[in-house]
């Protein structure tokens, strides 16, 4: 799910950036530093949308750098366990398939794909029901439920399932 939240960060600024453009320099450095990063707690920072306030700077001993506490609004993407969302299939193999929902990767193991879907290898590997009516392949859109997340310093990785009511393929590129 995407959220609009306020975060705070202490920004260190070199004295050469002081002057009337100080605030602009601070903001552009903040964007460069923060956008595109990921933390386990807040998820992926997609875009900064505004600055709430810039606090009083504090000169660091010895270096001349100044630290400013900056409060900013941003759009983040944070997946949650139990959340249901839509995703695009990026890779299919006999272990299951990978899908992407925005910046996050989700793996659906073949144990969590309905039992009536069989893996078919070939140049377009896919999972298909025995009657051939439903097919999951690269670029399919699926609705899945996140059942687990693994968080490390710079990445969030999810495990999902489509073995539940109202989950599975939403549209099939081959049929369209």
């Amino acid at each position: 799910m995407f959220f609009h939240i306020v975060l705070e960060r202490n920004m260190q600024l070199h004295p050469r950036h002081f002057g009337r453009n100080l605030r602009e320099n601070l903001v552009s450095k903040l964007m460069k530093d923060v956008e595109g990063t990921c933390s386990g707690r807040h998820g992926f920072v997609v875009a900064i949308t505004g600055i709430e306030n810039v606090g009083k700077g504090l000169i660091r001993d010895g270096t001349g750098f100044v630290t400013f506490p900056v409060k900013y609004q941003c759009v983040v993407f944070r997946p949650f366990k139990g959340e249901i969302l839509e995703a695009v299939v990026t890779m299919v193999n006999k272990m299951g398939f990978f899908a992407e929902a925005g910046p996050v990767q989700i793996f659906v193991s073949n144990h969590l794909i309905p039992d009536d879907m069989e893996f078919q290898s070939g140049d377009m590997p896919n999972y298909t029901t025995s009657d051939g009516s439903v097919k999951i392949q690269k670029d399919s859109e699926v609705r899945l439920k996140i059942i687990g997340t693994r968080v490390d310093a710079t990445e969030i990785f999810c495990i999902g399932t489509i073995k539940d009511d109202f989950l599975g393929v939403i549209n099939d590129p081959a049929a369209a």
Binding site: M1, F2, I5, E35, K81, E100, G102, P103
Partner: protein, 138 residues
């Protein structure tokens, strides 16, 4: 980390910080990112090179999965859903997935049926009807 271990969106356990935060539906994110991208384009010619991979992927994703394209419709969806005493998170899941039946809505957002909340099937049905009307008249 102990707080995160009990995290479960189906029961609306997403941590205080996110529960109080403003959630965004995909269509809203699409509008925000579009706007931001235009701003970047005005500042420099090669805006595409300046955006992060996360930005790019999110933008592609929300474009693909936006149910409502028109900004007015997006506003209406939020307005209508907010009449039903939903949590922000629930509102956005419903707005993103647009379930068609009451059963489907409950499967998508199990927390609307938890005890102590005034959502009977009729109210949910009415809500889904209102939603599908916006889609129809967009």
């Amino acid at each position: 980390m102990s707080g995160e271990e009990e995290e479960n969106a189906a029961e609306l356990k997403i941590g205080d910080e996110f529960l109080k935060a403003k959630c965004l539906m995909n269509c809203e994110v699409a509008l925000i990112l579009e706007h931001k991208y235009e701003q970047l384009q005005q500042m420099s010619d090669d805006a595409a090179n300046h955006v992060s991979q996360v930005f790019e992927k999110s933008q592609q994703y929300v474009k693909r999965f936006s149910r409502y394209k028109n900004p007015d419709a997006v506003r209406q969806v939020r307005e209508i859903l907010s009449r039903y005493q939903l949590a922000e998170f629930e509102l956005c899941v419903l707005g993103n997935l647009c379930p068609e039946t009451v059963e489907e809505a409950i499967a998508m957002v199990p927390s609307i049926k938890t005890k102590g909340r005034a959502h009977d099937d009729e109210a949910i049905e009415k809500m889904l009807n209102d939603l599908s009307l916006i889609k129809k008249f967009e």
